[in-house]
């Protein structure tokens, strides 16, 4: 096949390194200078399945420094399984960086980060940037078991405090990570969170209880990743600054929210504006 011109946000990257800190958790480093340069904290890429035939996979940009980025994968299905097999020297096509990241300014100077499982991947760049900008940052990190709590030390190295929780009690708090914060009370100005939907809903409730605002980064199934297919929507208050103008209210429509595209208007939203 003839070589195709590569448009601005499509990149042919090469795997530079790979580690597997726990079973089914794989971190692949990639030589991807443009993405490394341009990524804003909380943005993601769409990774093209090497064997084709499957829809590309949305992955948070985990690390970005120099010419290298990394992606953190948890193997849950066929696409992550295939991506997890990539080895040093293999090629990977990425589209990105895409989406709006966290609104770091609005998070203020004393931020609780809450990560559930692989949600951690979208929080390292925000942590580093917040800390570099002089904020205090504490990571609350939950996973099913001790071994799955990977890389907390990268956050410590950047200067964040870290508290851990596991579902099975094998390390840190025995239970949900949100319980840790609930117990502490209001010790942070804002929250930034990423993880599975049930956790993010709990974060929303917690934030309301504590009287702080939370930005949550959603992980849903994407198809296009660029706002073209309207497949990745989440119900959002019509009054949200992120609410798309589209569509206007139809006669007879009883639903009083709009559908925002997670990939385009998000993936980060203010939890108190979500209607889920």
């Amino acid at each position: 096949m003839p070589v195709l011109e590569t448009p601005p946000l499509v990149h042919e990257t090469v795997v530079s390194d790979r580690r597997e800190p726990f079973s089914d958790i794989v971190i692949i480093g990639l030589y991807a200078p443009k993405i490394a340069r341009e990524a804003r904290p909380g943005q993601f890429v769409m990774a093209v399945t090497p064997s084709g035939e499957r829809v590309a996979t949305a992955l948070g940009i985990y690390e970005a420094a120099g010419d290298r980025i990394s992606l953190m994968l948890v193997v849950v299905g066929p696409r992550t399984r295939e991506l997890a097999l990539l080895e040093r020297g293999d090629r990977l096509v990425l589209a990105g960086p895409l989406g709006n990241g966290f609104q770091l300014q609005a998070l203020g100077k004393n931020v609780a980060l809450i990560a559930g499982g692989v949600g951690l991947a979208s929080l390292l760049l925000p942590a580093q940037r917040l800390l570099a900008d002089g904020a205090r940052v504490h990571l609350y990190y939950g996973a099913r078991t001790a071994g799955a709590l990977v890389d907390a030390e990268l956050f410590e190295a950047a200067g964040a405090g870290v508290s851990l929780a596991t579902d099975d009690g094998s390390r840190g708090h025995h239970g949900y990570v949100t319980e840790l914060l609930a117990r502490e009370g209001r010790t942070h100005e804002t929250i930034a969170a990423c993880g599975p939907s049930p956790m993010l809903r709990a974060v929303g409730t917690l934030a309301r209880t504590l009287g702080v605002r939370a930005q949550v980064s959603l992980e849903e199934t994407f198809a296009c990743g660029v706002g073209a297919c309207w497949g990745c929507v989440v119900p959002l208050e019509r009054s949200s600054a992120q609410a798309p103008a589209f569509p206007p209210v139809a006669p007879g429509e009883t639903r009083d929210y709009v559908h925002a595209r997670i990939c385009k208007e998000g993936p980060v939203f203010w939890s108190d504006e979500l209607r889920w």
Partner: protein, 315 residues
């Protein structure tokens, strides 16, 4: 040995619509084009079929709307769109600067809807042609009924035909026993071309949560999984009508696209393929050029339907 002659001509004609490259981007999959502009040079596409628009605004189905499945995707967007008035007021003017063809897509729930929206949309200069989506499976039983019933298909087509002189492409559903029969009545009702096929109805169940994965329960299956179904549909339609066909369903490579062309499609449409890799439309166009060049064939039109002995269409 590769014949090093002039670049093969891969342009395609769909009634009065001329595409310099025979690739349309499937309705609902490519927004209005601009969403993909950072990933793909739109000038290298034949055209974009816009997201379907209806008479009234629609908030669409609740989430989740997408489920990845084996070699494909289930979707149930539910025709989220701003409605024709708001669309004309705010969106259409932006299409003027697309460097490729712009095909408006019209969906409806009554014959009158199809006539009304077609007329309003086609009246705009920014719109080069109209695709009539009578085959959306994700809006309850209503939408798809039109493409699964010869009488309704005929009436919707006739109404849209009366509403515009611009090229009219009618999009058929695979969820029928005899797609050729529907194609024939739609041709007779005045369609200039046929889009074959829309998605196949399907669903998936979350066995952990014991409920359907899509909020809408069922959705439309697209992607490589449906390619054999789509190629056969084109094959059968191409034996039944003389108007050009836009083949679609699971096209990811030039070889996939060529299956449709050899079956009888004049042009192809790429939807889900863009989600597997945004470079697919470019690879399809360049791969078709290579295929023709290697065989010393000057124009794509020459091979339309050439694997199909019953092909009746004009090349």
């Amino acid at each position: 040995m590769v014949t090093k002659a002039a670049e093969p001509d891969i342009s395609a004609r769909l009634g009065g619509l001329r595409l310099s490259v025979p690739t349309l981007m499937g309705s609902g999959c490519y927004g209005s084009g601009e969403e993909y502009a950072s990933l793909v040079d739109l000038a290298q596409l034949g055209g974009v079929v816009l997201k379907s628009v209806t008479r009234l605004p629609r908030l669409g189905n609740d989430a989740p709307r997408l489920v990845p499945v084996a070699s494909g995707l289930l979707n149930a967007i539910g025709l989220q769109n701003p409605g024709i008035e708001s669309y004309l007021a705010s969106d259409v003017a932006k299409f003027a600067d697309r460097p490729c063809a712009v095909v408006g897509s019209v969906a409806g729930f009554s014959v009158d809807d199809y006539a009304f929206v077609t007329e309003r949309l086609a009246a705009r200069d920014e719109i080069d042609a109209i695709e009539l989506n009578i085959s959306c499976p994700n809006v309850g039983a209503e939408g798809e009924t039109f493409a699964c019933d010869p009488d309704l298909a005929e009436r919707a087509t006739r109404a849209a035909r009366a509403a515009t002189a611009k090229p009219l492409i009618v999009k058929l559903s695979p969820n029928v026993t005899d797609i050729a029969a529907i194609a024939r009545v739609v041709e007779a009702a005045g369609a200039d071309a046929l889009a074959v096929i829309n998605t196949v109805r399907g669903m998936a169940i979350d066995v952990d949560r014991v409920k359907p994965k899509l909020a809408n329960v069922s959705g439309g299956l697209s992607g490589a999984a449906i390619r054999p179904i789509a190629v056969l549909a084109v094959w059968e339609v191409a034996r039944a009508v003389r108007i050009p066909i836009v083949g679609q369903g699971g096209i990811e490579t030039a070889r996939d696209a060529l299956e449709f062309v050899l079956a009888g499609a004049t042009a192809v449409s790429i939807g889900t393929g863009n989600f597997t890799d945004p470079r697919v439309p470019l690879a399809v166009a360049s791969g078709i050029r290579t295929y023709l060049a290697e065989r010393g064939i000057a124009t794509l039109a020459e091979i339309v339907g050439s694997a199909n002995p019953g092909f009746r269409g004009a090349r």
